[in-house]
Protein backbone atom coordinates (compact mmCIF):
# COMPACT_ATOMS: atom_id res chain seq x y z
CA UNK A 1 0.00 0.00 0.00
CA UNK A 2 1.41 3.36 -0.91
CA UNK A 3 0.16 6.31 1.00
CA UNK A 4 1.86 9.61 0.36
CA UNK A 5 2.09 10.57 4.00
CA UNK A 6 4.55 13.41 3.61
CA UNK A 7 2.76 14.83 0.59
CA UNK A 8 -0.61 14.82 2.33
CA UNK A 9 0.98 16.23 5.48
CA UNK A 10 2.34 19.11 3.44
CA UNK A 11 -1.14 19.94 2.16
CA UNK A 12 -2.68 19.77 5.62
CA UNK A 13 0.09 21.90 7.07
CA UNK A 14 -0.35 24.46 4.32
CA UNK A 15 -4.07 24.67 5.11
CA UNK A 16 -3.16 26.12 8.48
CA UNK A 17 -5.62 26.38 11.35
CA UNK A 18 -8.87 24.51 11.02
CA UNK A 19 -12.18 26.12 11.84
CA UNK A 20 -12.36 26.92 15.54
CA UNK A 21 -14.25 24.65 17.90
CA UNK A 22 -16.23 26.38 20.58
CA UNK A 23 -16.23 25.23 24.16
CA UNK A 24 -19.52 23.67 25.24
CA UNK A 25 -19.61 25.72 28.40
CA UNK A 26 -17.94 28.90 29.48
CA UNK A 27 -15.22 28.65 32.12
CA UNK A 28 -17.31 27.76 35.15
CA UNK A 29 -17.00 27.07 38.83
CA UNK A 30 -18.71 23.65 38.95
CA UNK A 31 -16.28 22.16 36.43
CA UNK A 32 -13.37 23.78 38.26
CA UNK A 33 -14.67 22.28 41.50
CA UNK A 34 -14.92 18.85 39.94
CA UNK A 35 -11.42 19.14 38.60
CA UNK A 36 -9.68 20.27 41.79
CA UNK A 37 -11.61 17.65 43.73
CA UNK A 38 -10.56 14.83 41.42
CA UNK A 39 -6.95 15.91 41.21
CA UNK A 40 -6.63 16.77 44.86
CA UNK A 41 -5.41 20.27 44.11
CA UNK A 42 -5.89 22.47 47.20
CA UNK A 43 -4.69 25.73 45.66
CA UNK A 44 -7.33 28.18 47.04
CA UNK A 45 -7.16 30.61 44.09
CA UNK A 46 -9.37 28.21 42.11
CA UNK A 47 -12.18 28.18 44.65
CA UNK A 48 -11.94 31.17 46.97
CA UNK A 49 -12.52 34.76 45.86
CA UNK A 50 -10.59 36.07 48.84
CA UNK A 51 -7.60 33.83 48.24
CA UNK A 52 -7.59 34.65 44.53
CA UNK A 53 -7.61 38.37 45.25
CA UNK A 54 -4.90 37.97 47.87
CA UNK A 55 -2.81 36.30 45.17
CA UNK A 56 -3.29 39.30 42.88
CA UNK A 57 -6.10 37.95 40.69
CA UNK A 58 -9.30 39.94 40.20
CA UNK A 59 -11.28 36.92 41.38
CA UNK A 60 -11.39 33.15 41.17
CA UNK A 61 -9.34 31.79 38.26
CA UNK A 62 -9.33 28.45 36.47
CA UNK A 63 -6.37 26.11 36.89
CA UNK A 64 -4.13 26.76 33.86
CA UNK A 65 -3.78 23.03 33.28
CA UNK A 66 -7.54 22.86 32.70
CA UNK A 67 -7.19 24.71 29.40
CA UNK A 68 -7.81 21.67 27.26
CA UNK A 69 -10.74 20.55 29.39
CA UNK A 70 -12.91 23.46 28.27
CA UNK A 71 -12.85 22.40 24.63
CA UNK A 72 -12.90 18.63 24.97
CA UNK A 73 -15.33 17.04 22.54
CA UNK A 74 -17.27 15.34 25.32
CA UNK A 75 -18.93 11.98 25.66
CA UNK A 76 -20.46 11.87 22.18
CA UNK A 77 -18.19 14.37 20.54
CA UNK A 78 -16.44 13.83 17.26
CA UNK A 79 -13.56 15.61 15.76
CA UNK A 80 -14.37 17.89 12.84
CA UNK A 81 -13.68 16.62 9.34
CA UNK A 82 -11.09 19.32 8.81
CA UNK A 83 -9.27 18.56 12.07
CA UNK A 84 -5.60 18.08 11.05
CA UNK A 85 -4.95 15.38 13.65
CA UNK A 86 -8.06 13.55 12.50
CA UNK A 87 -6.91 13.68 8.89
CA UNK A 88 -3.40 12.45 9.65
CA UNK A 89 -4.73 9.73 11.95
CA UNK A 90 -6.96 8.35 9.21
CA UNK A 91 -4.14 8.51 6.71
CA UNK A 92 -1.68 6.68 8.95
CA UNK A 93 -4.31 4.09 9.89
CA UNK A 94 -4.67 3.40 6.20
CA UNK A 95 -0.87 3.07 5.86
CA UNK A 96 -0.83 0.43 8.59
CA UNK A 97 0.30 2.61 11.50
CA UNK A 98 -2.81 1.79 13.44
CA UNK A 99 -1.74 2.31 17.05
CA UNK A 100 -1.34 5.62 18.78
CA UNK A 101 0.44 6.88 21.84
CA UNK A 102 0.88 10.47 22.97
CA UNK A 103 4.51 11.39 23.59
CA UNK A 104 4.62 15.13 24.38
CA UNK A 105 2.29 17.81 25.58
CA UNK A 106 3.56 21.35 25.96
CA UNK A 107 1.16 24.01 27.17
CA UNK A 108 1.86 27.72 27.42
CA UNK A 109 -0.54 29.97 29.31
CA UNK A 110 -0.57 33.65 28.39
CA UNK A 111 -2.83 34.55 31.28
CA UNK A 112 -5.13 33.04 33.88
CA UNK A 113 -8.78 32.60 32.90
CA UNK A 114 -11.76 33.94 34.82
CA UNK A 115 -15.11 32.31 35.31
CA UNK A 116 -17.44 33.27 32.46
CA UNK A 117 -14.93 33.46 29.64
CA UNK A 118 -16.00 31.51 26.56
CA UNK A 119 -13.21 29.83 24.66
CA UNK A 120 -12.65 28.67 21.13
CA UNK A 121 -9.83 26.42 19.98
CA UNK A 122 -8.10 25.98 16.64
CA UNK A 123 -5.82 23.18 15.51
CA UNK A 124 -3.03 23.26 12.96
CA UNK A 125 -0.64 20.58 11.82
CA UNK A 126 2.88 21.57 12.74
CA UNK A 127 4.99 18.63 11.68
CA UNK A 128 4.97 15.00 10.54
CA UNK A 129 8.21 13.01 10.72
CA UNK A 130 8.95 9.40 9.96
CA UNK A 131 9.08 6.60 9.50
CA UNK A 132 11.09 6.12 12.68
CA UNK A 133 12.12 2.97 14.46
CA UNK A 134 10.88 3.28 18.04
CA UNK A 135 10.63 1.10 21.08
CA UNK A 136 7.00 0.40 20.21
CA UNK A 137 7.44 -0.23 16.52
CA UNK A 138 7.98 1.69 13.32
CA UNK A 139 5.92 4.83 13.23
CA UNK A 140 5.37 8.51 12.50
CA UNK A 141 5.39 11.42 14.89
CA UNK A 142 2.55 13.85 14.30
CA UNK A 143 2.78 17.24 16.00
CA UNK A 144 -0.18 19.57 16.19
CA UNK A 145 -0.54 23.03 17.59
CA UNK A 146 -3.66 24.28 19.33
CA UNK A 147 -4.47 27.87 20.18
CA UNK A 148 -7.24 28.90 22.58
CA UNK A 149 -8.92 32.21 22.08
CA UNK A 150 -11.07 34.24 24.43
CA UNK A 151 -12.80 36.51 22.01
CA UNK A 152 -10.03 37.37 19.59
CA UNK A 153 -7.32 37.15 22.24
CA UNK A 154 -5.08 34.07 22.24
CA UNK A 155 -4.92 32.97 25.88
CA UNK A 156 -3.12 29.64 25.69
CA UNK A 157 -1.30 27.36 23.27
CA UNK A 158 -0.45 23.70 23.15
CA UNK A 159 1.96 21.64 21.13
CA UNK A 160 0.87 18.02 21.16
CA UNK A 161 2.78 15.11 19.70
CA UNK A 162 1.57 11.59 19.10
CA UNK A 163 3.32 8.55 17.71
CA UNK A 164 1.24 6.61 15.22
CA UNK A 165 2.92 3.24 14.99
CA UNK A 166 2.65 -0.27 13.63
CA UNK A 167 3.06 -2.58 16.61
CA UNK A 168 5.67 -5.24 16.04
CA UNK A 169 9.33 -6.01 16.13
CA UNK A 170 11.32 -2.98 17.05
CA UNK A 171 14.25 -1.88 19.09
CA UNK A 172 13.84 -2.33 22.81
CA UNK A 173 13.82 0.81 24.92
CA UNK A 174 17.20 1.65 26.37
CA UNK A 175 17.85 -0.47 29.39
CA UNK A 176 14.72 -2.54 29.11
CA UNK A 177 16.62 -5.78 28.64
CA UNK A 178 19.74 -4.84 30.55
CA UNK A 179 20.86 -7.51 33.00
CA UNK A 180 20.37 -6.08 36.46
CA UNK A 181 22.46 -6.86 39.50
CA UNK A 182 21.08 -8.53 42.58
CA UNK A 183 21.74 -5.89 45.19
CA UNK A 184 22.15 -7.06 48.78
CA UNK A 185 22.55 -5.06 51.94
CA UNK A 186 26.27 -5.71 51.59
CA UNK A 187 26.58 -4.44 48.04
CA UNK A 188 24.00 -1.63 47.89
CA UNK A 189 26.67 1.03 48.61
CA UNK A 190 28.45 0.10 45.38
CA UNK A 191 25.40 0.47 43.14
CA UNK A 192 24.22 3.59 44.94
CA UNK A 193 27.71 4.89 44.26
CA UNK A 194 27.64 4.28 40.54
CA UNK A 195 24.21 5.91 40.37
CA UNK A 196 25.68 8.92 42.18
CA UNK A 197 28.64 9.04 39.82
CA UNK A 198 31.06 7.46 42.26
CA UNK A 199 33.15 4.32 42.02
CA UNK A 200 33.30 2.97 45.55
CA UNK A 201 35.66 0.35 46.96
CA UNK A 202 34.76 -1.42 50.17
CA UNK A 203 37.17 -0.62 52.99
CA UNK A 204 37.23 -2.53 56.26
CA UNK A 205 36.19 -0.24 59.08
CA UNK A 206 38.69 -1.91 61.42
CA UNK A 207 41.84 -2.84 59.51
CA UNK A 208 41.37 -0.71 56.44
CA UNK A 209 41.79 -3.52 53.92
CA UNK A 210 40.29 -2.71 50.54
CA UNK A 211 38.14 -5.36 48.92
CA UNK A 212 36.24 -5.93 45.72
CA UNK A 213 33.80 -7.53 45.23
CA UNK A 214 32.54 -6.47 48.63
CA UNK A 215 31.13 -8.67 51.34
CA UNK A 216 29.73 -8.40 54.87
CA UNK A 217 32.79 -9.51 56.84
CA UNK A 218 36.45 -8.67 56.42
CA UNK A 219 38.33 -11.87 55.52
CA UNK A 220 41.51 -10.31 56.93
CA UNK A 221 40.43 -9.25 60.44
CA UNK A 222 36.87 -10.45 60.90
CA UNK A 223 35.34 -7.03 61.40
CA UNK A 224 31.80 -6.73 60.10
CA UNK A 225 31.23 -3.01 59.75
CA UNK A 226 32.80 -2.05 56.43
CA UNK A 227 32.84 1.39 54.90
CA UNK A 228 34.12 2.47 51.54
CA UNK A 229 36.53 4.78 49.84
CA UNK A 230 36.18 6.47 46.48
CA UNK A 231 38.32 5.01 43.75
CA UNK A 232 40.49 7.38 41.76
CA UNK A 233 38.97 5.84 38.68
CA UNK A 234 42.34 4.96 37.21
CA UNK A 235 43.51 1.46 36.48
CA UNK A 236 45.03 -0.92 33.97
CA UNK A 237 43.61 -3.83 32.04
CA UNK A 238 44.52 -7.05 33.86
CA UNK A 239 42.65 -9.27 31.41
CA UNK A 240 39.84 -8.88 28.89
CA UNK A 241 37.61 -10.71 26.46
CA UNK A 242 35.89 -9.78 23.23
CA UNK A 243 32.47 -11.34 23.23
CA UNK A 244 30.92 -12.50 19.97
CA UNK A 245 28.53 -15.33 20.75
CA UNK A 246 25.95 -16.16 22.03
CA UNK A 247 23.82 -13.01 22.22
CA UNK A 248 23.78 -11.14 25.53
CA UNK A 249 20.67 -9.20 26.55
CA UNK A 250 21.11 -5.47 26.20
CA UNK A 251 24.42 -5.76 24.29
CA UNK A 252 25.49 -5.52 20.69
CA UNK A 253 28.36 -7.82 19.72
CA UNK A 254 31.26 -7.67 19.59
CA UNK A 255 31.87 -5.95 22.89
CA UNK A 256 34.77 -5.89 25.31
CA UNK A 257 34.63 -6.82 28.97
CA UNK A 258 37.74 -6.04 30.97
CA UNK A 259 39.08 -7.09 34.34
CA UNK A 260 40.64 -3.87 35.53
CA UNK A 261 43.27 -3.59 38.24
CA UNK A 262 42.54 -0.32 39.99
CA UNK A 263 45.45 1.77 41.20
CA UNK A 264 44.14 1.13 44.72
CA UNK A 265 44.99 -2.56 44.18
CA UNK A 266 41.63 -4.27 43.79
CA UNK A 267 40.30 -5.75 40.56
CA UNK A 268 36.91 -4.92 39.10
CA UNK A 269 35.04 -6.18 36.07
CA UNK A 270 33.40 -3.80 33.65
CA UNK A 271 32.66 -3.06 30.04
CA UNK A 272 35.49 -1.41 28.16
CA UNK A 273 33.94 1.20 25.89
CA UNK A 274 35.22 3.73 23.43
CA UNK A 275 37.87 1.43 22.02
CA UNK A 276 38.25 -0.83 19.02
CA UNK A 277 38.24 -4.41 20.35
CA UNK A 278 41.37 -5.09 18.34
CA UNK A 279 43.24 -2.30 20.13
CA UNK A 280 42.77 -3.61 23.66
CA UNK A 281 45.92 -4.85 25.39
CA UNK A 282 46.67 -6.20 28.83
CA UNK A 283 48.34 -3.39 30.76
CA UNK A 284 46.65 -0.55 28.92
CA UNK A 285 45.69 2.40 31.10
CA UNK A 286 41.97 2.92 31.54
CA UNK A 287 39.71 5.23 33.49
CA UNK A 288 36.25 4.76 34.94
CA UNK A 289 33.39 5.69 32.63
CA UNK A 290 30.17 5.06 34.54
CA UNK A 291 27.39 4.23 32.10
CA UNK A 292 23.88 5.18 33.12
CA UNK A 293 21.53 2.57 31.69
CA UNK A 294 18.42 4.02 33.30
CA UNK A 295 17.32 5.34 36.65
CA UNK A 296 17.77 1.96 38.24
CA UNK A 297 21.17 1.01 36.93
CA UNK A 298 24.53 2.62 36.33
CA UNK A 299 27.29 0.27 35.25
CA UNK A 300 30.97 0.58 36.21
CA UNK A 301 32.37 0.73 32.69
CA UNK A 302 35.85 1.78 31.62
CA UNK A 303 37.42 3.59 28.70
CA UNK A 304 41.00 4.18 27.56
CA UNK A 305 42.73 6.76 29.77
CA UNK A 306 42.99 10.18 28.16
Amino acid sequence: MTVDILGRAGQVRAAGECAPRSARDPVNQPMINNWVEALGDANPIYTSEAAARAAGHPGVVAPPAMIQVWTMAGLHGRRAADDPLQIMTALLDEAGFTSVVATNCEQTYHRYLRVGEHLRMTTALEDVTGPKRTALGDGWFVTTRNVWYSGEEPVAEMRFRVLKFAPGPAAAPAGADAVRPVVSRDTAFFWEGTAAGELRIQRCGACGTLRHPPGPMCPSCGADDPGYVLASGRGTVFSYVVHHHPPVPGRTVPFVVALVELEEGVRMLGGLVGVDPGEVRIGMAVEAALTRVDDGLTLPDWRPAR
Binding site: D41, N43, Q68, C105, E106, Q107, Y112
Partner: protein, 129 residues
Protein backbone atom coordinates in the same frame (compact mmCIF):
# COMPACT_ATOMS: atom_id res chain seq x y z
CA UNK B 1 16.84 30.95 48.81
CA UNK B 2 15.77 29.29 45.60
CA UNK B 3 18.41 28.30 43.11
CA UNK B 4 19.34 25.52 40.77
CA UNK B 5 19.28 22.30 42.73
CA UNK B 6 16.59 23.38 45.17
CA UNK B 7 14.49 20.27 45.66
CA UNK B 8 10.71 20.35 45.78
CA UNK B 9 8.85 18.41 48.47
CA UNK B 10 7.90 14.96 47.19
CA UNK B 11 4.29 14.23 46.27
CA UNK B 12 2.67 10.81 46.15
CA UNK B 13 -0.53 10.03 44.29
CA UNK B 14 -2.37 6.77 44.67
CA UNK B 15 -3.77 5.97 41.25
CA UNK B 16 -6.77 4.03 42.49
CA UNK B 17 -9.42 3.06 39.94
CA UNK B 18 -11.57 5.79 41.47
CA UNK B 19 -8.81 8.33 40.91
CA UNK B 20 -8.30 7.23 37.31
CA UNK B 21 -12.01 7.44 36.53
CA UNK B 22 -12.74 10.61 38.51
CA UNK B 23 -9.90 12.54 36.88
CA UNK B 24 -10.78 11.28 33.41
CA UNK B 25 -14.36 12.47 33.82
CA UNK B 26 -13.32 15.73 35.48
CA UNK B 27 -11.15 16.44 32.45
CA UNK B 28 -14.02 15.47 30.12
CA UNK B 29 -11.95 12.68 28.63
CA UNK B 30 -14.40 9.87 27.91
CA UNK B 31 -12.07 7.50 26.09
CA UNK B 32 -13.00 4.05 27.34
CA UNK B 33 -9.45 3.08 28.34
CA UNK B 34 -9.72 5.54 31.22
CA UNK B 35 -12.89 4.18 32.78
CA UNK B 36 -13.77 0.77 31.33
CA UNK B 37 -11.45 -2.00 32.44
CA UNK B 38 -12.84 -4.57 29.99
CA UNK B 39 -12.32 -2.17 27.12
CA UNK B 40 -8.81 -1.38 28.32
CA UNK B 41 -7.94 -5.08 28.47
CA UNK B 42 -9.41 -5.63 25.03
CA UNK B 43 -7.12 -2.94 23.67
CA UNK B 44 -4.07 -4.64 25.13
CA UNK B 45 -3.69 -2.56 28.25
CA UNK B 46 -3.17 -4.09 31.66
CA UNK B 47 -5.91 -2.01 33.22
CA UNK B 48 -7.47 1.43 32.91
CA UNK B 49 -4.83 4.14 33.05
CA UNK B 50 -4.35 7.80 33.92
CA UNK B 51 -5.02 10.22 31.05
CA UNK B 52 -2.72 12.97 29.79
CA UNK B 53 -4.83 15.92 30.90
CA UNK B 54 -4.51 14.59 34.42
CA UNK B 55 -0.75 14.29 34.08
CA UNK B 56 -0.53 17.95 33.18
CA UNK B 57 -2.76 18.78 36.12
CA UNK B 58 -0.72 16.69 38.55
CA UNK B 59 2.53 18.28 37.41
CA UNK B 60 0.95 21.69 37.92
CA UNK B 61 -0.30 20.72 41.38
CA UNK B 62 3.12 19.35 42.35
CA UNK B 63 4.75 22.67 41.49
CA UNK B 64 2.10 25.03 42.91
CA UNK B 65 1.88 23.03 46.15
CA UNK B 66 5.46 24.20 46.59
CA UNK B 67 5.33 27.57 44.85
CA UNK B 68 2.30 28.83 46.76
CA UNK B 69 -1.05 30.40 45.75
CA UNK B 70 0.58 33.64 44.63
CA UNK B 71 2.64 31.88 41.97
CA UNK B 72 1.80 32.14 38.27
CA UNK B 73 2.24 29.11 36.03
CA UNK B 74 3.49 30.10 32.58
CA UNK B 75 4.03 26.79 30.88
CA UNK B 76 3.97 23.06 31.48
CA UNK B 77 5.89 20.85 29.09
CA UNK B 78 5.62 17.14 29.67
CA UNK B 79 6.98 14.04 28.06
CA UNK B 80 4.99 10.86 28.49
CA UNK B 81 6.63 7.60 29.47
CA UNK B 82 5.27 4.28 30.67
CA UNK B 83 1.56 4.06 31.48
CA UNK B 84 0.24 4.54 34.98
CA UNK B 85 -2.31 1.80 35.43
CA UNK B 86 -4.90 1.66 38.16
CA UNK B 87 -3.51 0.52 41.52
CA UNK B 88 -0.09 2.01 40.81
CA UNK B 89 1.42 4.78 42.91
CA UNK B 90 3.00 7.85 41.36
CA UNK B 91 5.93 9.46 43.13
CA UNK B 92 6.65 13.00 42.02
CA UNK B 93 10.00 14.59 42.57
CA UNK B 94 11.53 17.71 41.16
CA UNK B 95 14.08 20.43 41.50
CA UNK B 96 14.78 23.91 40.32
CA UNK B 97 16.92 23.88 37.22
CA UNK B 98 17.10 27.58 36.37
CA UNK B 99 16.23 30.97 37.84
CA UNK B 100 15.86 33.94 35.52
CA UNK B 101 14.78 37.00 37.46
CA UNK B 102 11.39 36.12 38.90
CA UNK B 103 10.97 33.15 36.59
CA UNK B 104 11.85 29.77 37.97
CA UNK B 105 12.13 26.61 35.90
CA UNK B 106 11.42 23.36 37.67
CA UNK B 107 12.06 19.88 36.36
CA UNK B 108 9.57 17.24 37.43
CA UNK B 109 9.47 13.46 37.26
CA UNK B 110 6.46 11.34 38.12
CA UNK B 111 7.50 7.74 38.57
CA UNK B 112 5.36 4.64 38.90
CA UNK B 113 6.18 0.98 39.40
CA UNK B 114 6.90 0.57 35.68
CA UNK B 115 9.30 3.49 35.50
CA UNK B 116 9.05 7.13 34.51
CA UNK B 117 5.43 7.88 33.75
CA UNK B 118 5.76 11.60 33.14
CA UNK B 119 8.66 14.00 33.09
CA UNK B 120 8.96 17.60 32.11
CA UNK B 121 9.49 21.20 33.08
CA UNK B 122 7.31 23.92 34.48
CA UNK B 123 7.98 27.65 34.44
CA UNK B 124 6.54 29.66 37.30
CA UNK B 125 6.94 33.14 38.72
CA UNK B 126 6.05 34.64 42.05
CA UNK B 127 7.31 31.63 43.93
CA UNK B 128 6.81 31.92 47.69
CA UNK B 129 7.36 28.48 49.13
Amino acid sequence: MIGPGTALPAMTVEATPTFVVATAVATRDFQDVHHDRDAALARGSKDIFVNILTDTGLVQRFVTDWAGPAARVHDIKIRLGVPCYAYDTLHFSGEVTAVDGDRVTVSVIGRGSLGDHVSGTVTVSGVTP
